[in-house]
């Protein structure tokens, strides 16, 4: 998996994009868009919100490109923009109200399904299972797990991003791990020992 921070683009391409060259902008967009949309979808879940946040992120990215000082990789800079948009969305009262109206609690995610078995090729089935497991988590827990396990955020950074403490991140992560373990390793029903 190629992470957003690992994607590199030539400095002169960035300079051309800053000058408003549409071709350069298009190339940069093509390089970063898939990973950006993937990150946003994994943090906030799929659907129209992810599409909106993606559009928002890329618009902000191109608007602010002239202020990019190349102190960090461009992908890291874009990731920061995308994640701040996601945090704003996750923290917004509107989002919380929508979750409540939709009957989704912070305890349980939006979707539950069965593990892929049989007809699907093994690597693809594995990915689909992980995606489904991830989508079974609550929005906050999903974001915390992804940021900690994949993006390499610390508990302090995650707590700060959500306007909470590091303990909040730790407890969310522990709960999410429990749920994911239960997903991947369902409890085997052992036959009761009965004495005859």
């Amino acid at each position: 998996m190629v992470k957003l921070v690992e994607i590199g683009v030539a400095a002169d391409l960035v300079a051309q994009a800053c000058r408003g060259d549409e071709h350069a902008q298009s190339e940069i967009y093509t390089a970063f868009a898939p990973a950006t949309l993937g990150l946003i979808r994994r943090v906030v879940g799929g659907g129209a919100q992810a599409e909106d946040l993606f559009q928002d992120t890329m618009m902000t990215f191109f608007e602010r490109l002239q202020t990019y000082r190349a102190e960090a990789p461009l992908g890291a800079w874009l990731r920061q923009i995308a994640l701040s948009k996601c945090f704003m969305y996750l923290r917004s009262p509107w989002h919380r109200a929508r979750l409540q109206l939709g009957g989704v609690s912070e305890e349980a995610g939006v979707w539950k399904g069965e593990l892929c078995q049989g007809s699907v090729p093994a690597p693809l089935a594995e990915s689909m299972d992980v995606e489904r497991a991830l989508s079974s988590l609550s929005p906050t827990a999903r974001a915390v797990v992804w940021l900690f396990e994949v993006e390499g955020y610390s508990h302090d950074e995650i707590g700060h991003a959500f306007g909470r403490s590091a303990s909040f991140s730790k407890s969310q992560l522990a709960r999410a791990h429990r749920r994911l373990r239960a997903w991947f390793e369902p409890a085997v029903e052992t036959p009761a020992c009965t004495s005859i």
Binding site: M1, V2, K3, Q25, S26, Y29, T30, A33, P34, A35, T36, L37, G38, R41, R42, G46, F54, Q55, M58, M59, E126, S127, V130, E131, L134, V145, W146, E149, V150, H177, L180, R181, F184
Partner: protein, 178 residues
């Protein structure tokens, strides 16, 4: 725990195809147009709200000032009531008393050194009413009609002159106090 992390890290980067750059640009323009429309609408709504508030304030202020104006000219009502009173016989005597009072008022110094705000307001109010009655009397006499109304106005004027004399007298007494 490590295994879960590893599974997550092994997920592919792309889970859905992003829109093409042309589509991204189209959506960007559409969004900017929507924002522009929204901001125009907001500006219009703000302007309308300000206009409504301004009109409301103007109406309230004009109503307040007209009510004050009405209060200032309240003597009209008692005058019409006075007109039906059978006090016309003593009108000449009242006019004589009024003339004497006016002479006394004219002999007073124009303004005492120490002025009390409430007394000054009462004096000003009385003087305004008297001036208004004078105007009304002048126009009635010029038109040459409504003798009853002219008598009523004259009586009211005499009464107001009497009150003004009392207030000014009290004022001079207070001013003379050490």
């Amino acid at each position: 725990m490590q295994e879960i992390g590893q599974r997550l890290r092994n997920l592919p980067t792309q889970i859905a195809a992003p829109p093409a750059f042309a589509e991204f640009k189209r959506r960007k323009l559409a969004r900017q147009a929507r924002l522009q429309r929204f901001s125009n609408r907001t500006r219009l709504a703000l302007a309308a709200a300000v206009a409504v508030i301004a009109v409301g304030a103007t109406v309230i202020v004009s109503q307040l000032s007209s009510s004050q104006h009405t209060v200032a000219h309240l003597p009209v009502t008692p005058i019409t009531q006075l007109a039906i009173k059978p006090a016309l016989a003593g009108a000449e005597a009242a006019a004589a008393r009024s003339a004497a009072s006016e002479q006394w008022l004219a002999a007073l110094p124009a303004e005492p050194v120490i002025v009390r705000v409430d007394t000054r307001a009462a004096v000003t109010n009385l003087e305004d009413r008297i001036a208004w009655i004078d105007d009304a009397l002048t126009s009635i006499r010029a038109e040459g009609g409504e003798a009853d109304r002219a008598h009523a106005l004259q009586s009211e004027r005499d009464r107001l002159i009497g009150t003004l004399v009392q207030v000014r007298y009290a004022e001079t007494l207070v001013a003379d106090l050490p």
